[in-house]
């Protein structure tokens, strides 16, 4: 396990802790973002191969050399999509928070639990 992936898991844990212990909706969303970033680091670290270069085919890296000299490109591609999706989810969560604040004048998660049982 590389340092990057360890850092990723630490970030996931920190984010999760934030999500579960903060009462403020914005802080919960920040926690989510931190957790998401941790996941992205883990993904990138999985594709990394020591001593190899970025999987971008140009003058420095010909298509023929790519399999032996570049890192695994798939996790990099995945992480791009995951970042976009994470961004969308964060935006949606934030828009919910705005809507809730506008109507209920509160950002405390304990105040929005009237729907239950």
């Amino acid at each position: 396990m590389t340092l990057v992936s360890i850092l990723g898991f630490v970030l996931i844990a920190v984010g999760l802790w934030g999500m579960l212990t903060r009462r403020n909706l914005i802080k919960i969303i920040v926690g989510f973002s931190i957790m998401d970033t941790g996941v992205h680091l883990v993904i990138v670290s999985l594709g990394f191969i020591k001593g190899r270069t970025a999987p971008i085919i140009n003058k420095a890296l010909s298509a023929g050399d790519a399999p032996s000299r570049a890192v695994d490109p798939i996790p990099s591609a995945l992480v791009l999509t995951a970042i976009v999706i994470g961004l969308a989810v964060t935006a949606l969560l934030l828009s919910f928070a705005v809507r809730i604040y506008r109507e209920k004048r509160t950002l405390n998660i304990d105040d929005i639990s009237e729907l239950k049982w």
Binding site: V42, I43, L78, V89, L93, S95, K104, L115, W117
Partner: protein, 1042 residues
């Protein structure tokens, strides 16, 4: 064939174009939107028919490369079926939402299309990361849909949903990249065959993915968020999430669960079962209909997970397509149309403030029919697809694991109780409003799918089912269609329907069953005559009566176990609907339904076990070879339905609260269904009752004790209908006891008593219904002295109580004589003693019946009551003539009965001229009739000569000095008539069974409340529950996998 990828592309494309086009060209935008949905549905159905007719599954490569380089989309029969469901649900839902969308511009339509497109992606994709993308698309679009509502609740539940599904998608993503790391591919099919999957890392990564999907599938206890979402969403959006989106995710689960080793399947099955039972348990406590539907949706997901993992653990990868189609297909179709339909009903009937009152639904004919259909379909009753699914599922599971059967049936029992409770509320509505398209459409679709399932029988899916068993439905529908005609024409047509049904059913039946069917139909037709007397107030009563008679009758004409079970369910449902129509019958009908369904599920478990153990379908062979346990379950089911001591508490209320005109059919006919059931099971499986433990002795004791307590309870009733109800309970007790004897004399007595019970209980209820309709009360102390006003009714009651009590000369005497003979022949002397004592007690209530209603002084308000109408008197006296005829010439009836019984047991009685000779003595009905008539005539003539000296007395109430009665009627002589007996023996007549069952109900309720409180409404608690759920699941999985 159209490329299936186009469905996805068109839905996505139209979603974008719609948002841009709408401000400029409304009509074009809407046309495009609905066009995309219709296109998707058409393409899916086209492919589905292609696959059904033998087409081969294909793989679509959207990028042009095969995995692991490109993404592969799978496209086969299952995909085409689920995608048809998705588009059908989407199309119906979008029609339901059209008005809302048109009036308030929002992103709703676009998000709706995105959800549909994402769901199609989830169905087709066979690439893990691609699945992640579609999961996120559908999560975000549904959360967005939640927020399009006007209320902030949508945003709140959307926030909770994103919190939990965000957590789930993190698990999914980590699992996916690790699986990629281990196997070098993202394609599910390649991962499945990768040897690297077997290691610990492979196991853990796969577990994370599947756990994430289980959270999305709303598995208990990680489902509080989903309940809040489904409660707060616009009902049509809730339907979309509950049906379309959830079914798509279910299909993802279906694709990926083989990633884990087969040993771990049982854990999934258990998680599914816990979800199913807990959801329906908690649903019992709901007073918000939409939240109840939310619980029901969640429960359904639990059942799906159970079914998928269980069938896989039994069949491996070769699950027979027939089993999968019937079970999963049947449940999914029902889930879409019935649950979706109910959500749509909520959407339509919500008032402007967003409150939903279910009583408004049943206030119109169409609304009543539709909600009845939707709820019965959801409850898994015939002929809806879920019924066939339930039967096949239970039969399959019974073959390997009976405990799972019981857990499923327990959950199903909670569900049907809950559904019927709401149906009862819906049907008592009075206001008027119209029903709009989607519920109507889904109702129609469901009914035609009911027809489809009938078609499936033709296709040979159920070779052990004869279409004639569904005749009661045709009868019910035919009688319903003529409900608008004048009363007498309607009744004539109904009698004709019974006749035609007899023509169709009786020739195909044989032996005791044939006689039973003919007798039930004949008595039903005779009783229908009484309804000629007055215009019909309730136009649905008559079709339901026709349905009840037919469903009871068809039980005699069945040949296979499936046919029997179908008829039984039909009978239970139709009779419950008949009872619920009574004015204050909601609670009584629910109690009837609860006990009947509990009995029906015991019967189902027993039949399923017997069918799978014997491998037979024919009822005679199934019973003959069935293991003892299944026979015991089946008998228990019948005893529940018969209302024997201990489970009798539904009897008085169901009889008393159903409409006066409906009670005769329930009391005289429906009560015979368990009798024919018991006769059939004893007929074919007598040996199962004689073993190390003599079950038949136990059943015999239950019978005589039921007879005794029935008579005792009857004596203490104030309501004449309750008195008769307890009397029926007692009579059924005798019949059960003699059936349990399993001897020639016993069975002749049983059939003879059963037939008489139909006659005299029918007669009594018809007569008493006439009295009640004239006096406007069913309380006996409010009646009295009616002998002068209703002399013909008095004679009818007198005749029937003579018939019941078993004194000569009427047929009850012969029945009792044979009964005691049978007991003594078998050495059951103690039982005979109890039965004899019960007969003595029966005199008490019979005396009270005739005394308090007809004798004494008439009440002021009854001075002018008239005799019952001729339409009531004619059937009454036809029955009396039949009773007299049988009494004079019992041989005419007994000989065929004896011939029937002789096919099972060697004869121990025979005829010598008019004498019936048994091992204990002889009985000559003819001679007894002559002697009794002679003895009766002499005093009568003497009395007629002395009648001049009679003096009239005034009404005489008993009031003690200085006594201040709380209610004036308590001073009436007929009130608490047998107070002295009650003081003496009242302690044994305490309602212990009622107290017991009330305790059971309260405990269930409390447990449901406890389960319900898991959903605290706090998003963070839900997230913690998800983490705990995943951790516990992992712990158990590791235990089984290692």
């Amino acid at each position: 064939m159209v490329n299936p990828l186009l469905m996805l592309a068109v839905a996505l494309g139209v979603g974008f174009i719609f948002a841009w086009l709408r401000p400029y060209a409304k009509t074009a935008a809407w046309t495009l939107l609905y066009g995309a949905l219709v296109f998707g549905l058409a393409v899916s159905i086209q492919w589905l028919t292609h696959f059904v007719s033998g087409g081969v599954s294909t793989t679509v490569l959207p990028g042009g490369f095969s995995p692991p380089v490109g993404i592969a989309l799978g496209w086969g029969m299952k995909e085409a079926f689920i995608s048809s469901i998705v588009f059908l649900g989407g199309l119906l839902g979008s029609i339901a939402l059209f008005k809302t969308w048109r009036d308030t511009p929002s992103a709703g339509p676009v998000l709706f299309l995105l959800t549909i497109a994402g769901s199609i992606g989830l169905i087709m994709s066979r690439d893990l990361f691609n699945l992640f993308v579609f999961l996120e698309i559908t999560s975000m679009s549904t959360a967005g849909l939640l927020a399009t509502g006007r209320h902030h609740e949508g945003a709140v539940s959307g926030f909770k949903m994103m919190l939990v599904t965000g957590l789930a998608s993190v698990l999914f993503l980590i699992g996916t990249v690790y699986l990629y790391r281990i196997t070098g591919t993202l394609a599910i099919d390649q991962i499945l065959v990768s040897p690297a999957l077997a290691g610990t890392a492979g196991f853990t990564a796969s577990f994370l993915i599947i756990a994430a999907i289980l959270v999305e599938l709303k598995i208990w206890p990680a489902n509080g968020w989903a309940l809040d979402v489904l409660t707060s969403a616009h009902p049509v959006i809730a339907a979309l999430i509950s049906t379309v989106h959830s079914v798509a995710i279910l299909f993802v689960f279906y694709k990926i669960f083989p990633l884990l080793p087969p040993d771990s399947l049982l854990i999934f099955t258990s998680a599914g079962l816990m979800t199913f039972v807990s959801a329906h348990l908690a649903g019992l406590r709901q007073d918000n209909f939409q939240r109840m539907l939310a619980y029901s949706s969640v429960g359904m997901m639990g059942l799906f997970v159970t079914v998928i993992t269980w069938t896989s653990s039994v069949y491996g990868h070769n699950i027979p397509i027939r089993i999968e189609s019937i079970i999963l297909g049947g449940f999914i179709i029902t889930h879409l149309l019935a649950k979706g339909g109910l959500f749509w009903v909520v959407a339509h009937f919500k008032d402007s403030e967003g409150n939903f009152d279910i009583t408004r639904v049943g206030s119109t004919t169409l609304g009543g029919v539709i909600i009845t259909g939707l709820i019965l379909a959801l409850a898994g009753l015939p002929p809806f697809p879920s019924f066939w699914a339930k039967w096949t599922l239970i039969r399959e599971i019974a073959a390997s694991s009976l405990p799972i059967v019981f857990v499923i049936l327990l959950g199903a029992l909670f569900e049907v109780i809950n559904l019927f409770r709401w149906l009862g509320r819906a049907l008592e509505g009075e206001s008027h409003c119209a029903v709009h398209a989607p519920p109507v459409l889904s109702g129609i679709a469901l009914f035609s799918l009911g027809g489809f399932s009938i078609g499936a029988i033709f296709l040979g899916w159920f070779p052990d089912f004869n279409i004639s068993i569904l005749i009661p439905f045709s009868g019910l529908i035919a009688a319903g269609l003529v409900a608008f005609l004048p009363n007498r024409i309607q009744i004539s047509i109904s009698i004709l329907i019974l006749g035609l049904a007899g023509f169709a059913l009786v020739p195909g039946a044989s032996g005791i069953g044939q006689a039973y069917t003919a007798i039930i139909l004949g008595s039903g037709a005779l009783m229908l005559l009484t309804k000629m007397e007055a215009a019909n107030k309730d136009k649905w009563q008559l079709p339901l009566i026709v349905g009840t008679v037919l469903t009871v009758a068809v039980l005699g004409a069945v040949h296979t176990a499936l046919e029997f079970w179908t008829s039984w369910e039909m009978m239970t449902a139709v009779s419950a609907l008949l009872i619920v129509r009574g004015k204050n019958a909601k609670k009584s009908a629910l109690m009837y339904w609860t006990f009947s369904m509990a009995g029906a599920f015991l019967l189902l478990a027993g039949l399923a076990l017997a069918v799978s153990a014997t491998g037979q379908t024919d009822l005679s062979k199934v019973f003959a070879g069935a293991p003892s346990l299944s026979i015991i379950l089946i008998s228990l089911g019948f005893l529940f339905k018969a209302g024997v001591l201990g489970v009798h508490i539904w009897v008085p209320d169901a009889y008393a609260e159903s409409e006066d005109d409906s009670t005769p059919y329930i009391a005289a006919l429906v009560s015979k269904a368990p009798i024919i059931g018991l006769i059939l099971v004893f007929y074919y499986a007598a040996d199962a009752f004689i073993g190390p433990f003599e079950w038949r002795v136990l059943i015999g004791w239950i019978g005589v004790l039921t007879a005794f307590f029935g008579a005792l309870f009857a004596s203490f009733q104030e309501d004449v209908k309750k008195l008769l109800a307890y009397s029926s309970m007692g009579q059924i007790g005798y019949i059960i006891a003699v059936i349990a004897l399993g001897s020639y004399t016993g069975w002749v007595a049983a059939l003879y008593l059963a037939l008489h019970h139909i006659l005299y209980k029918g007669l009594l209820f018809i007569t008493i219904a006439g009295v009640i309709s004239r006096t406007q009360t069913s309380l006996m102390y409010k009646m009295g002295g009616l002998i002068k006003r209703m002399p013909l009714s008095f004679v009818a009651v007198l005749m029937s109580i003579i018939a019941i009590s078993g004194v000569p000369p009427l047929p009850g005497f012969g029945g009792k004589w044979m009964m005691y003979s049978a007991f003594i022949e078998a050495g059951w002397t103690l039982q005979a003693g109890v039965a004899f004592f019960a007969s003595g007690v029966a005199f008490l209530y019979l005396y009270r019946l005739i005394h308090t209603v007809f004798l004494g002084m008439p009440k002021n308000e009854h001075i002018n009551v008239k005799e019952s109408s001729i339409w009531r008197l004619v059937p009454m006296y036809i029955i009396i003539a039949m009773i007299m005829g049988i009494a004079t010439m019992p041989k005419l009836l007994l000989e065929p009965i004896m011939n029937l019984v002789q096919t099972r047991f060697p004869a121990t009685m025979h005829w010598e001229a008019a004498n019936l000779i048994s091992s204990l003595g002889s009985w000559n009905g003819n001679a007894i009739m002559m002697v009794t008539m002679g003895v009766f005539m002499l005093p009568l003539i003497l009395l007629l000569f002395r009648v001049r000296g009679v003096k009239r007395v005034k009404p005489f109430n008993i009031v003690y000095a200085a006594e201040k009665p709380e209610r004036p009627e308590t001073t009436h002589v007929a009130h608490n008539f047998f107070a002295h007996y009650r003081r003496a023996i009242g302690v044994i007549a305490l309602p212990r069974a009622t107290a017991f069952w009330r305790g059971v109900a309260e405990w269930t309720d409390t447990l449901g409340d406890w389960v319900r409180q898991w959903a605290t409404g706090n998003g963070q608690t839900y997230a913690v529950q998800v983490l705990l759920f995943v951790s516990v699941l992992y712990f158990f999985m590791r235990q089984t996998a290692l």
